[in-house]
Symmetry: C2
Subunit: 342 residues, 2 copies
């Protein structure tokens, strides 16, 4: 299987992206990587790390780059030879099987929509992010592809998240929660109130009901559905809280004298474990679900480890045919819907 990686995307490109790709082909024998971007630059980094091109790690040249300060949709339309556009085209043409795109979320979403299109019946693709919980992981979606979701978008997000949890995280019958400010069906804003009965009537998912912000990390449900505006803010706030905690602990240790320093060294393994659980990047990027193809978006600050994991998640998406499962459920739901109307 061949994964196209946008080697020019993100704050640490191409160095960290190329390094992540080198690590990925070593770690996962069944996935080959095609690095897309400035061939000369990519070759320079590969040489730096003592590697050359091979069947398993090849290069496709792309002469343009989408900069972080460009308007993503306009830039994607204009720059036909941008690395992310070329990477997406490789999948459309059947040369590669999936895309890994570090960097601007807006650019990635636009490139995916224009290059691969949506699964038939899906109105909006959305980003699914695994969040650590007391029971393991909860999948949050939409975590930022859309900023004004409609009830139908949330219902489709629930269907997509259900398949992602099932086929990638091995959860047999994932239960789905609607993110809200109270348990009762009548709670929340207009969007939540309208979406609740629609989720109840969705046959292809197992709807739990409303969940609150606290329930996400409690692991009450496997999949949490919300508007992309809310999802994005939550994820970043979670990052902020984790950073604040690290800072406070470091401060206290610094000001704590010898005993506290020794103590800190003794509990360090606990913190490492903790940080690993809280490190969203550990899970390797987030899939853009609803696109008619396998597409992984990585944070702009992604380093080699994230890229390596993203290659694995991209490969698994293809192997498990998550796109096919989503397509089948959407067809089933739309069929039921049409039956009701006739």
């Amino acid at each position: 299987m061949k994964i196209a990686v946008d080697a020019m995307g993100g704050d640490y490109a191409p160095e960290e992206v190329v390094l992540g790709a080198i690590e990925a082909v070593k770690a996962y024998k069944k996935y080959d990587v095609v690095l897309v971007g400035d061939a000369k630059e990519i070759r320079r980094v590969m040489t730096e790390y003592g590697t050359t091109e091979s069947d398993r790690l090849s290069i496709v040249h792309a002469g343009e780059v989408i900069e972080m300060d460009e308007h993503p949709a306009q830039a994607i339309r204009k720059k036909k030879d941008a690395s992310i556009v070329v990477a997406t085209r490789l999948v459309k043409e059947g040369v590669c099987d999936a895309v890994v795109a570090p960097g601007s979320t807006g650019a990635a979403v636009t490139a995916a929509l224009l290059g691969l299109g949506r699964i038939k019946g899906i109105e909006r693709p959305c980003i699914a992010t695994p969040i650590p919980s007391k029971k393991g992981v909860s999948i949050l979606l939409d975590s930022g592809a859309n900023s004004d979701s409609k009830p139908k978008h949330l219902v489709q997000a629930a269907i997509m998240g259900s398949h992602y949890a099932q086929h990638i995280f091995g959860i047999k019958e994932p239960n789905i929660g609607l993110l809200n400010i109270g348990a009762e069906a009548s709670k929340g804003n207009e969007l939540a109130q309208t979406t609740y009965p629609m989720l109840e009537q969705t046959k292809t998912i197992s709807f739990y009901g409303n969940v609150e912000g606290r329930d996400i990390t409690e692991g009450i449900v496997d999949v949490v559905v919300c508007d992309g505006f809310v999802g994005n803010i939550i994820l970043k706030f979670g990052e902020g809280i984790a950073l604040l905690i690290m800072q406070l602990v470091k401060d206290s240790i610094r000001n704590g004298g010898l005993l506290a320093k020794l103590g800190a060294m003794a509990v360090l393994p606990a913190f490492r474990h903790l940080r690993k659980r809280l490190d969203f990047t550990e899970y390797g990027g987030a899939p853009l679900l609803g696109i008619d193809g396998s597409f992984i978006i990585c944070h702009g600050s992604s380093k080699a480890k994230t890229i390596r994991h993203a290659v694995r998640v991209a490969g698994e998406l293809v192997e498990e045919d998550v796109v096919g499962h989503i397509r089948a459920s959407i067809e089933e739901e739309e069929g039921q819907h049409n039956d009701c109307e006739s």
Copy 2:
């Protein structure tokens, strides 16, 4: 000054509420407390703690209670002798100066609206919550009074939050951030996009621009303005992350052997400090701003410490005349607005 405390509100009423009131009159000599609720019950708890009624700690009987499972707005309208309704009436009649209300947010908001009304010009009251940040505290509002805010509500929240930061937290010229998913004015959902230019034109505040979820704990701004639906979810998610971290650390220490246990004891002071900073209740409830009176809402799970702090915050709200400052700013903004139209 007299603070009316709803002794029957919250999960630990009346015990913890009465204990908190006893502690408050001891700690703050200038604030007297009037406990409102079932007089027999309150007296029983006071006796338990070795206290009797006095000028500084008195009782006003109220024969009814709003239960957590009742529809708040309906229950408040029906139960004229509910403790929270009577407590609010004491302020309206000038017997007391402020209300402290632990328990259901919905019931508290309805009681305040019906009993005291809004400040002239304010369309929606909102809840302001201090959140710990790297620089101390950021005020988040609305944290749950409304679930479908309009742009004007966010502008008024900004004005109210600015006065709260200024007069209660002593921040001279508080800067206000609009919670969004990106820095540019064009980012975000329709609400955020419409609100941004309106905040730019608001004369009585110092508008910083958009802030992201991560920036709340970074302490980039003093006041963060958002829709009540988003604010409530964020607060509860933050609580969840903090609980998850405590859990993970405890697990690791439990499984970590003798050295880790000793180490944990050494860094325990750091954790205590940390938990104190993250404990939203430490700050003593959240004011319901925009009401024509001083009104503090406390979490349903409030214990004595929260009640004690809430009495102090309620007293400070009155002393600093936060209501008067908000009224003046709203008049000024509305005046400007009218000038423009004429």
